[in-house]
């Protein structure tokens, strides 16, 4: 096959890719992507994972290390099968917060720290450089294979110049389609579709070569299995430690590789695509790995010893004279290399421009922040970054001289980007993770990786001297790059994997535990970790096309039905529309936002309309504004709560007062009811007997008898009214006290004489101790005597002893005098003792003498007014009352 033909085919293929990307880009701009946004395209674009390393290198890997190459497919398969746990969250966050790269994700999560963004960018660039070099190398090698296989007079191209041309070509293609315009979401539909096409070419090419090997060279499946059994592939046996390490490493890489993040998260159009990809992508990987072993085995068998197994995919068809098939295989490998380089350089350029160039630019020219020329600055920064990334790749290729095996370089790159893992996982699942922890982890991991894996990859004596390899850094043997802390027997890769990630994770955890996240960090941490809680689902709004109905529904929810409707109707009238739904013009949206702001706050209103209109991004500043509004609302509600608590207290006090009033009202009703009874009872007798007397015709003795009853009942009425008035005066505290010195003995004498009118027929034996009564008390003598009369009369009334006796004993103590009245009757039942001082608390009517039951209540009121008390003394044999009065009552302040 002529080499020129190969170049022409290559160019045609590139032109074809150009056309695909161009057409799709045009359709995307017109909003007509249709099936191009399908899960199929998404899944195929994920095949960016399979680079030239996979396309060519897997066979070489199998030829050298047997089935170990499968670990590179197992890792991603596990991640995608378990997509629900991590990838879903990653994609949701990426879509919700318009994440533009993995550096952006880490930086936003830890409080929009640009330091972190820069660190991740540096790690990504450093780790990607050998990987890009690897792609260039594979293209150069494949060209070389064709050139050497076709000695048709054309000199085989110089590998160095081939690499330059390839790098320049890729840079041009990437710049043309990767930086055509600035999309808020950093999506590149044209390139993604071109990548999907290349994915198909890769798969078809590899399957075609595989099918040719199995059915063209060998005699079908049975024969090939027999050949595999017979082959002496070096490491058929599985090394569990290395396998587990490689599976883990490739699983981590599929998440953290910048290009994977780009197609998986940034270019994702629909979260649902992920569910499809969760089985379709592993299926793709399985197909890609299906014929690796047969090709390796047959290649080892057929091709001359010393042939580079990395090129078996090309050299086998060439050796068998299958020029067309070799061409297809070449295009497959070319696709693998170019797609990786394109996407990787776009992803890296985005990081470099967003986290390095733009912050620097803004720092140097703060005035530019407001200007429009930032767009062109960003685009130019990206273009330069893409060129720089490819230049770096070429530089690495040039320096390393394309010596190392493809797979080894790939794994070193994997391990480099894997350093992002602790910060990423911690950021997504641990709210306590902090910026300082992330920085510490990343720096630690990066340094350890560089020292144990990246720098040694240049070979002993290149960057690290032989002495460092043999004796360790500064002669410290525990710092030997491939035997840290004396771990000598480990596989170098596993050694680097173990130490870099372990130390990284430890530094990350320690840093996070020792520091406290700032406010933005806490906000972002909560938002990222709890992204599935209370968040809205993926939006379906296409750009600039918002349904007025949706706006109305939202407005009604916030403003209320009536107000929302009238707002929409008036806007529709102003637009000259008949219906009540206005067009979502910018003017109307502004008006609506202003209305919503009044209810939910400006930031929230803006975010809500942005969500529906689907064009503006929700930035950290927006979120902060929402948060501060929420804080105000919370403060306000705290105030409301405080006020409510106060109201509750007031209500409680009111309720208590009300209960008291109700109680008083009940007491008043009961009191009035009692008074009514006490008044009506004598009036009934008076009325009845006065009617009888009026009718005449009665014997004189009856007239006298009934006349006396009328007289007694009238007196009873008078006494009742007197008592009531007395009680009322005493209870109101309006009583006038006539204070003066009075002899206690005289007062008792007076009282005994007066009380004799009560049941005068009974003769009482009175026991007194006259010397003790020889006291002068400063008090209101009339009132105190009234109390004595009451108590003595009660004794005369109720003492039921056959020979009634009353003992009056006086005692003085501490400025007070106590006078006890104790009779020898039955006394008052225990359960009634607390009632006797209440109004109308007449216990029994058996011995009533016309009292209304107010006597003791009046006594109590009098004693309160006199600064003393009256109490019942239980357990004295008979009824016993104790009066306590102050010896010298001073006039109370009026």
């Amino acid at each position: 096959m002529p080499f020129n033909l190969l170049v022409v085919a290559c160019l045609l293929y590139v032109v074809f890719l150009f056309a695909v990307a161009f057409i799709v880009e045009r359709r995307a701009q017109a909003g007509r992507l249709g099936w191009l946004r399908s899960p199929l395209v998404y899944t195929l674009s994920l095949s960016i994972y399979c680079t030239a390393w996979t396309f060519y290198g897997a066979v070489g890997y199998a030829a050298r290390s047997g089935l170990e190459f499968l670990t590179i497919y197992f890792g991603p398969t596990l991640v995608f099968v378990g997509w629900w746990w991590l990838l879903r969250k990653l994609v949701r966050i990426g879509r919700q917060y318009r994440v533009t790269s993995i550096a952006d994700l880490i930086s936003s999560r830890f409080g929009k720290s640009n330091t972190l963004g820069v660190i991740v960018t540096i790690i990504a660039v450093v780790a990607a450089t050998p990987y890009i070099a690897l792609q260039l190398q594979s293209v150069v090698l494949s060209f070389g294979v064709f050139a050497s296989a076709t000695p048709d007079g054309v000199a085989p191209p110089d590998p160095g110049s081939t690499a330059i041309w390839v790098a320049v070509g890729l840079a041009l293609f990437t710049i043309l389609f990767g930086t055509r315009n600035l999309d808020a979401k950093e999506q590149h539909h044209g390139i993604v579709t071109a990548i999907a096409v290349e994915a198909v070419v890769k798969l078809v090419a590899l399957l075609a070569v595989g099918a040719f090997v199995v059915w063209g060279i060998a005699d079908g499946v049975g024969d090939i299995i027999a050949r595999i059994d017979a082959a002496d592939l070096s490491a058929w046996q599985v090394q569990p430690g290395r396998w587990a390490g490689l599976i883990f490493l490739s699983a981590v890489a599929v998440i953290t590789l910048p290009r994977m993040f780009q197609v998986m998260v940034v270019e994702n159009d629909d979260e649902g695509h992920l569910a499809r990809a969760s089985w379709a992508f592993p299926l793709y990987l399985m197909l890609m790995s299906l014929f690796i072993v047969p090709i390796a085995v047959v290649g080892l068998d057929r091709l001359p010893a010393g042939s580079n197994p990395d090129m078996f995919v090309l050299t086998l068809p060439l050796a068998e004279g299958q020029g067309g098939l070799a061409m297809l295989a070449f295009l497959g490998g070319f696709s693998s290399a170019t797609s990786m380089v394109i996407v990787e350089s776009i992803a890296l350029a985005t990081m470099i421009s967003n986290h390095v160039v733009i912050p620097l630019w803004l720092r140097m020219r703060p005035a530019a922040a407001a200007g429009d020329d930032l767009r062109s600055v960003v685009l130019n920064a990206r273009r330069v970054a893409i060129a720089a990334v490819l230049a770096l790749g070429y530089g690495y290729y040039h320096v390393s001289g394309g010596s190392a095996a493809l797979a080894a370089i790939g794994l070193i790159a994997f391990l480099g980007v894997a350093q992002v893992l602790p910060a990423l996982i911690g950021g997504l699942f641990w709210r306590g993770a902090t910026r300082v922890g992330a920085i510490m982890g990343l720096v630690t991991g990066f340094v350890v990786w560089a020292y144990t894996s990246f720098l040694p990859s240049f070979g002993p004596g290149a960057v690290l001297s032989d002495a460092v390899f043999a004796q360790g850094l500064l002669g410290l043997s525990w710092l030997r790059p491939q035997a840290l802390f004396g771990t000598e027997a480990m596989d170098p890769l596993i050694h680097a994997l173990f130490w870099s990630l372990t130390l990284n994770a430890i530094a990350f955890c320690i840093g996070s535990l020792l520091t406290f996240p700032g406010p933005v960090e806490r906000l972002q941490g909560a938002a990222f970790v709890n992204v599935f809680e209370g968040s809205v689902g993926p939006q379906r709004w296409s750009k600039g096309q918002v349904e007025p109905e949706a706006l109305l529904t939202m407005a009604q929810r916030i403003l209320g039905e009536e107000e929302a409707l009238s707002l929409f109707q008036s806007s529709a009238r102003e637009q000259g529309k008949d219906s009540f739904l206005p067009d979502p013009t910018p003017g109307f949206l502004n008006r609506l936002e202003a209305q919503l702001s009044g209810t939910v706050g400006a930031a929230t209103a803006h975010a809500m309309i942005s969500q529906l209109v689907g064009r503006a991004t929700v930035t950290v500043e927006d979120l902060m504004a929402v948060a501060s509004e929420s804080a105000q609302i919370m403060e306000y509600s705290a105030q409301l709560e405080a006020r409510e608590a106060e109201l509750t207290r007031t209500a409680g006090a009111l309720r208590e007062a009300n209960e008291k009033l109700t109680q008083l009202s009940i007491q008043k009703d009961a009191f009035l009811s009692q008074i009514s009874h006490e008044l009506r009872t004598p009036m009934t007798s008076i009325r009845a007997f006065s009617e009888i007397l009026t009718e005449g015709d009665l014997p004189p003795e009856m007239v006298t008898k009934y006349g006396r009853i009328i007289h007694d009942e009238a007196k009873r009425l008078t006494r009742l009214l007197d008592d009531l008035l007395d009680l009322s005066v005493l209870e109101n505290g309006t009583v006038q006290l006539n204070l003066g010195l009075a002899s206690l003995q005289q007062m008792l004498d007076t009282a005994l004489t007066a009380a004799r009118q009560t049941r005068p027929e009974r003769s009482f034996v009175i026991h007194r101790d006259l010397p003790s009564e020889a006291i002068y008390i400063k008090t209101d003598a009339d009132r105190l005597t009234q109390v004595f009369i009451n108590l003595i009369s009660n004794a005369r009334k109720y003492c039921d002893a056959a020979k009634p006796e009353l003992r009056i004993s006086v005692r003085q103590r501490a400025g007070r005098v106590t006078i006890d009245f104790i009779d020898n009757g039955k006394g008052i039942p225990k359960e009634s003792q607390s009632l006797i001082f209440e109004k109308f608390a007449r216990l029994t009517d058996a011995n009533r003498a016309g009292g209304a039951g107010l006597g003791l209540a009046i006594c109590r009121e009098i004693m309160t007014n006199l600064g003393g008390s009256v109490a019942y003394l239980p357990g004295q044999g008979g009824a016993a009352f104790r009066i306590t009065v102050p010896l010298r009552l001073e006039k109370l302040a009026a």
């Binding site: 009506r680 009934t684 007798s685 009845a688 009888i692 009853i709 009517d845």
Partner: protein
């Protein structure tokens, strides 16, 4: 003193349950003069026993009684098949007891103070005279 003015062969029996002696005396006088046989009980707790023993044709029952209230006595009377239909007139000195008395099954209700003519007319109408 009781005289059968309207010629009944046997004067009808009124049991008066009232703790105020003067009121009891007045009612006894008024009814006796009209030809009724009147017996008197002052203690609420003895009233039911007294009804059972005396088998009166009519009971005049005071509301506020020592021992057992008039309402309780009335409820007990209405619960007993023998006295369920016994005509009962309740007396009360408090204004708001009418409803409770009627619910408890009183046939008539009188507030104190009453006129003699009034109580006489009520007793007569209760006994269908």
């Amino acid at each position: 003193m009781p005289e059968a003015r309207r010629g009944e062969p046997l004067s009808q029996h009124v049991l008066l349950i009232e703790d105020e002696p003067n009121i009891a005396e007045a009612i006894r006088f008024i009814l006796s003069r009209d030809g009724w046989r009147v017996s008197h009980e002052a203690d609420g707790s003895a009233a039911l026993e007294r009804v059972r023993k005396d088998r009166p044709d009519l009971v005049i029952l005071d509301h506020m009684l020592p021992g057992m209230s008039g309402l309780d006595i009335l409820s007990a009377l209405r619960a007993d098949p023998e006295t369920v239909a016994l005509p009962v007139m309740m007396l009360t000195a408090r204004g708001r007891d009418r409803e409770m008395a009627e619910q408890a099954g009183a046939n008539r209700f009188m507030s104190k103070p009453f006129s003699n003519a009034e109580i006489l007319a009520e007793v007569r109408s209760m006994m269908g005279r």
